[in-house]
């Protein structure tokens, strides 16, 4: 500011004008109902960007449908998307901003388990309703739970149990390649618990650094374990890279590759050959429309809104979380947090994949788990025809860890 062209007086005057303009923007004409604001922190840039953007697109579809149907007695909803950069600190700041500055009524979002816990810390302390759409076991546990915490995503316990049930057998040897952070650890714990019940053996386990690009140095050791099943517990681009390289090293010829969650976008990014025959769980695959009417309705609305594209797994999370929240809002007839929590606790909803409800003790969405297998190229009827649905495990509270085990006291 040594030039002297921008004097302090000009600066002060400018700030006053800006402040006044801001005030005008914020003032609402009397009588017009206040917009319902849903804050949506999620990592739209970075390695999980593909999944995050699908969450946003589907959440926006749910908002549009709500507004087109007249909103809450004429009050329309809007989605305030913020980039949490996959960083717990950033997510906490953005969430606080959404609540304090943007005066968001509700928070939905997050993709990584650590980030989700950080968002939950904030919403819990401010008594704001939060629907998480990130896979996690911890958020169900009593120490992280609060009355305003809801979890629409599957949890590692559910996905690993479904995959293990379908692929593990008594006496088979399983080698684990695990991303060294919360997600990988939770998945490994889930698989080992299921393996113990089934009688499958552990051939060995290797922890790999989060975000590794090259997995070649882990392959000789994995191969030397002579496993029947190679279980790869990681997420996003780590999944695409590790499966691709395991295939390059010929591991698929000696072992079956299974993953806790088989991702739509990563299969697209890695191509059909690398993923062919890989089995994993999913919350949603668009071909569910062949048997489930609500999936057909969701897909058709999505296709109409986004030029014929089909929604993905993480997209379905964004959609179900926002739709169920808006349904509870209508049932409550208000945006009052306490009333909406009550309504959400008793809500039965079927918006994309068959019946769902939030369990009373931990607010975990009870829902079906799909076990899917990546198709070979010659089996694909279209570009989006990626998977075979092997099994649909119906939603049941028995498939979750008991309220007692999670530390919830009645």
């Amino acid at each position: 500011m040594g030039q002297g062209t921008l004097s302090r007086r000009t600066l002060v005057a400018g700030m006053a004008v800006a402040g006044a303009l801001g005030g005008i923007g914020r003032a609402r004409p009397a009588g017009a109902a206040e917009t319902i604001r849903i804050g949506f922190p999620t990592p739209v840039t970075g390695p999980f960007g593909a999944e995050a953007k699908d969450q946003v697109r589907s959440a926006e579809l749910a908002i549009k449908q709500f507004n087109d149907a007249g909103g809450l007695d004429g009050r329309i909803a809007e989605l305030l998307v913020r980039d949490d950069k996959l960083n717990p600190g950033e997510a906490a700041t953005r969430t606080l901003e959404l609540i304090e500055k943007d005066r968001a009524h509700f928070i939905v979002g997050a993709l990584s388990s650590a980030v989700q816990l950080s968002v939950n810390e904030i919403t819990r302390s401010r008594k704001v309703l939060y629907v998480s759409i990130s896979q996690s076991d911890t958020i169900n546990e009593a120490k992280d739970f609060s009355r305003t915490t809801f979890h629409e995503a599957l949890n590692p316990h559910m996905t690993t149990a479904a995959v293990a049930k379908h692929t593990f057998k008594k006496g088979v040897k399983v080698a684990y390649l695990v991303a060294d952070y919360a997600y990988g650890h939770e998945m490994l714990r889930g698989f080992k618990r299921a393996a113990a019940a089934i009688g499958a053996e552990t051939a060995g386990e290797i922890l790999h650094p989060f975000g590794a690009a090259d997995y070649s140095t882990f392959m000789p050791r994995l191969r030397s374990m002579r496993p029947d099943i190679l279980c790869i517990c990681n997420f996003g681009r780590d999944q695409a890279n590790s499966i691709k390289q395991a295939n390059d090293f010929g591991l698929k010829k000696v072992a079956r590759i299974v993953v806790p969650v088989l991702l739509h976008n990563q299969r697209l990014a890695a191509g059909p050959d690398a993923f062919e025959g890989v089995v994993g769980a999913s919350n949603y695959y668009w071909r569910l429309e062949d048997t489930v009417p609500s999936a057909k309705a969701f897909n058709d609305a999505f296709r109409a809104a986004y030029g014929g594209a089909v929604p993905t797994d993480y997209g379905a999370y964004g959609y179900a979380a926002v739709r169920s929240l808006l349904m509870a809002l209508k049932a409550a007839g208000s945006t009052d947090t306490g009333k909406v929590v009550d309504a959400l606790e008793t809500l039965k909803y079927d918006v994309a994949k068959g019946p769902e409800h939030y369990r009373a003790c931990d607010h975990q969405a009870v829902q079906s788990v799909l076990v899917i297998e990546a198709k070979r190229k010659s089996e694909m009827a279209s570009e989006a025809d990626l998977f075979k649905i092997l099994e649909v495990e119906p939603g049941s509270e028995a498939a979750l860890r008991s309220c007692d085990e999670l530390g919830h006291r009645a």
């Binding site: 840039t45 970075g46 390695p47 960007g49 593909a50 953007k53 060294d180 060995g204 290797i206 922890l207 790999h208 650094p209 975000g211 590794a212 690009a213 090259d214 070649s216 140095t217 882990f218 392959m219 000789p220 050791r221 191969r223 030397s224 374990m225 681009r237 695409a240 890279n241 691709k244 390289q245 390059d248 090293f249 010929g250 976008n265 990563q266 697209l268 990014a269 890695a270 191509g271 050959d273």
Partner: protein, 296 residues
Amino acid sequence: MDWGSLDLELIAMQLFSGVALGAVFVMLALGLSIIFGMLGIVNFAHGNVFMVGAYAGVFVMERTGSFWAALLLGPLLVGALGLLVERFLIRPLAGRPPDDALLLTFGLGYVLVEGVRILFGSDGLPFATPEELSGVADLGVGFFPIYRIFVIGVVALVLVTLWVGLERTKLGLIVRAGARDPEILRVLGVDIEHLWLWVFGLGIALAALGGVLAAPMRSVNPEMGNVVLGEAFAVTVIGGMGSLLGSVVAGLLVGIVVSMTALLAPEMASIAMFAFMALVLLIRPQGLFGKPGFGV
């Protein structure tokens, strides 16, 4: 950990994996080292040039259907872009503090990432291993992807070509002289600006070649250069900034260190590289083959 299965075959296999990974590291470090050694510029866009190289490979592959065309044309396209960058962005900074060029390349890296996001989207793209190079080879002690063996071959070819070019040709002599004393060379009537232009283009093309070579092994995405920049810097620093021989030796050493760590303490595999760098710098601050006091 189950030490019982740590047999000689596995250790031999792990060493080979380390050398193969080292070849990739050498490839990543070469372009960075050449540009620094000759022009004194620390190219912070290096990782993202690698990424653009991979995308250029995808671009050519989609249009020609040939991996070989992608391998040749991808680096040439990106190298041509490098020539423009040198001529119109780097050269105007001549005579200014070296930080200016560093900041320029730092910003350029961001521009490249955003440019690719606009042109190709921010999701990853598939890049299949070429048919004739897919499959595994039996090395006697274990199986290894044929494509990765091919990569070792390409890196060796590039190194021999560079060595002959620099040590056995008149042009190479001028380039080496230019790195030592540009003033004398200018007095002798050599058009040194012209020389620097082509050296910069070569460094950029090498980074892009690394990207095309990596594409069938990793998913191609706009952020793939981030990790690479750190790895390339670690290798050049260990080898000695600006020393080509240093880059080669350091690249292979780092590959072996990472690979052996992956065998014994897999979760430390990423940190091993930087721990090794710290160790080398403690003993030899100028790097293995660097000249003392040489650098920015």
